[in-house]
């Protein structure tokens, strides 16, 4: 809770920076603030006391704290990475304030215990992101991305709200625990519109995490938005949306899993096939990463499917989101530096192995991790998902996942091949700021480190 308050306060401080003229020191303030939030979060983790706040609407239990930790680590790296892009921007302050508010919403999504806070959290997270996606004012692509994101986001929110209203009608409550009790005490006597509500909420959440067949907005938005904002969308937002998804469906609707698990199976299978096959024919790297994020969403959904009633899967989702977020930060960091002036095609990476050997190595590690090749974090993330899936009756899904991952290796390796085996058109090294390089190297090292001691990290997340 304290971390949550610190982050929201930081957002307000960032807005004041313009007025009180401390723009120059804003960046260190934010970074230190995030570190402080992380420390406070960690203290709550070691001395757990799960007091519900705001009339039982938010409760920072251990799961919420763990997800908040992942979000804060990613946010920390993101801010250092983003500073080079925003340093000379006259609207730097506004960007940072919006991002901090989005992170506030993201943290709220990890800890909600009431439908009200779920809705408010999603909107606090999404509305700043609509603005950020459209923040290149003169660029029509960026405008279009923001517009599409807004329309799709509010469309999904409307579905979410209709679902919430129907569930409220059946149960007479917005509280997750009360809904859970209602399901277990009234089994066999639940009105049909309750199930309609659950399905509508499922559709809305699938929109938010961009699972097929509700994924069509994601590639466009990822491509049009400024690269650094795309990095935020595919890490912090994804983690938060999954935390929300998990809390909603594994705590509240676990009792009616027969209804939604069948729909979820279809969504997972479609996401795996569509994302990997479409990504293989894309030429824009940002679009490829968007499709890759859809396929990673499918993997995380598999965990929710695998173990609807146990804490085992919480562990796997946390590990996956950590591995995926860190890998994505590296990948987007390199992408942001490489495509600063040019287009976003694979050709931009040609000869990067000779031009910027360090960046190329880090990008290779990130790609290997996203593809799930051993001794990287991504491999063990997928491994934990597969172990969770082995206990279920959905073994065919496992085979599908392995097959589509093999397709996935193809498009991740396209980047690596371009970096090492294709001649560069211009032999100039890409200029990268020291801070960005540090973040890229550290996140790449973390990816390897987590891959070397996966058991240690997984044990940290035991509840």
């Amino acid at each position: 809770m304290k971390g949550f308050l610190v982050i929201s306060l930081l957002g307000v401080i960032a807005m004041l920076a313009e007025v009180f003229k401390f723009k120059r020191i804003l960046m260190p303030v934010i970074v230190l603030g995030i570190l402080a939030a992380y420390a406070l979060n960690y203290m709550e983790w070691t001395h757990p006391f799960s007091i519900p706040y705001f009339d039982n609407m938010i409760s920072f239990d251990k799961i919420a704290l763990a997800f908040t930790g992942v979000i804060l680590i990613t946010a920390f790296f993101w801010f250092i990475l983003a500073h080079s892009s925003y340093e000379k921007d006259p609207h730097m302050v506004d960007h940072y304030a919006l991002v901090l508010f989005a992170i506030t919403g993201a943290i709220m999504l990890t800890a909600f215990t009431n439908m009200t806070t779920l809705f408010i959290g999603i909107e606090i997270m999404s509305i700043p992101l609509y603005v950020l996606a459209a923040s290149k004012k003169e660029n029509i692509q960026s405008n279009e991305a923001g517009f599409k994101y807004l329309i799709m986001g509010s469309f999904a929110s409307a579905f979410l709200l209709f679902g919430i209203a129907l569930i409220y009608g059946a149960t007479g409550s917005f509280d997750l625990k009360e809904i859970h009790t209602y399901i277990s005490t009234n089994a066999g006597n639940i009105p049909s519109f309750f199930y309609a509500g659950v399905v509508m909420m499922l559709i809305a959440m699938c929109f938010k995490i961009s699972a097929a067949p509700f994924h069509f907005w994601a590639p466009d938005v990822y491509q049009g938005a400024p690269t650094i904002i795309t990095a935020l969308m595919s890490t912090v937002v994804k983690t938060a949306a999954f935390a929300a998804f998990m809390r909603l469906f594994m705590i509240s609707f676990a009792g009616v899993s027969d209804v939604w698990s069948h729909i979820l199976v279809v969504a997972v299978a479609l996401s795996l096939v569509i994302s990997n096959l479409t990504a293989a024919v894309q030429s824009n790297v940002k679009r490829v990463l968007a499709y890759s994020s859809i396929s990673h969403a499918a993997f995380m959904l598999m965990v929710i499917l695998a173990n609807v009633r146990s804490n085992l899967s919480v562990n796997a989702i946390l590990f996956y989101s950590l591995a995926y977020s860190i890998g994505s930060i590296t990948a987007f960091g390199v992408l942001n530096s490489v495509t600063k002036y040019g287009k976003e095609s694979f050709d931009e990476f040609n000869g990067l192995g000779k031009r910027n050997p360090l960046l190329a190595v880090c990008m290779t590690i990130a790609m290997l991790s996203l593809a799930g090749i051993p001794i990287t974090a991504g491999f063990f993330a997928k491994y934990f998902v597969f172990t969770a899936m082995m206990t279920t009756s959905y073994k065919w899904l496992l085979i599908l996942a392995v097959l589509t991952s093999a397709v996935g290796v193809y498009y991740y390796f396209k980047v690596i091949i371009a970096m090492y085996f294709k001649p560069a058109e211009n032999h100039e090294a890409v200029k990268v700021e020291i801070a960005s390089t540090l973040v890229i190297v550290i996140t790449a090292l973390l990816t390897v480190a987590i891959g070397l001691v996966p058991g240690y990290v997984a044990e940290m997340f035991t509840f």
């Binding site: 809705f119 509305i127 929110s157």
Partner: protein, 103 residues
């Protein structure tokens, strides 16, 4: 039963409004009309929440409606800002002109 009318009719009415709204979002080309259709969807939800709130004799549903109204206003404010930016760039608000993002 609210005032002698079965709750099912309330659900039916809001569902119809919601479906009209969602068809509008998918089928119309004018961005302003799309925003109106989203508002229609949200107001269908508000209607449903208020009627359930009366049915359960519980004020929480109506409080939720306030949240939805506030958020919808924020969303439309952002939406219209983005829209005016688009208009400045392409001199139109037809969604069919927004096809610059492709492979």
């Amino acid at each position: 039963m609210i005032n002698g009318i079965s709750i099912n009719y309330y659900i039916l009415l809001s569902a119809i409004l919601f479906i009209i709204g969602s068809i509008g979002v998918m089928a119309r080309r004018n961005s302003i009309i799309i925003f109106m259709c989203i508002e229609l969807m949200l107001n269908a939800v508000n209607l449903l929440l208020v009627s359930f709130s009366t049915l359960h004799n519980d004020a929480r549903g109506q409080v939720f409606v306030f949240f939805i109204m506030a958020v919808a206003a924020a969303e439309v404010a952002v939406g219209l800002a983005i829209l005016s930016m688009i208009y400045r760039n392409v001199k139109s608000i037809d969604t069919h002109l927004l096809n610059n993002l492709k492979n």
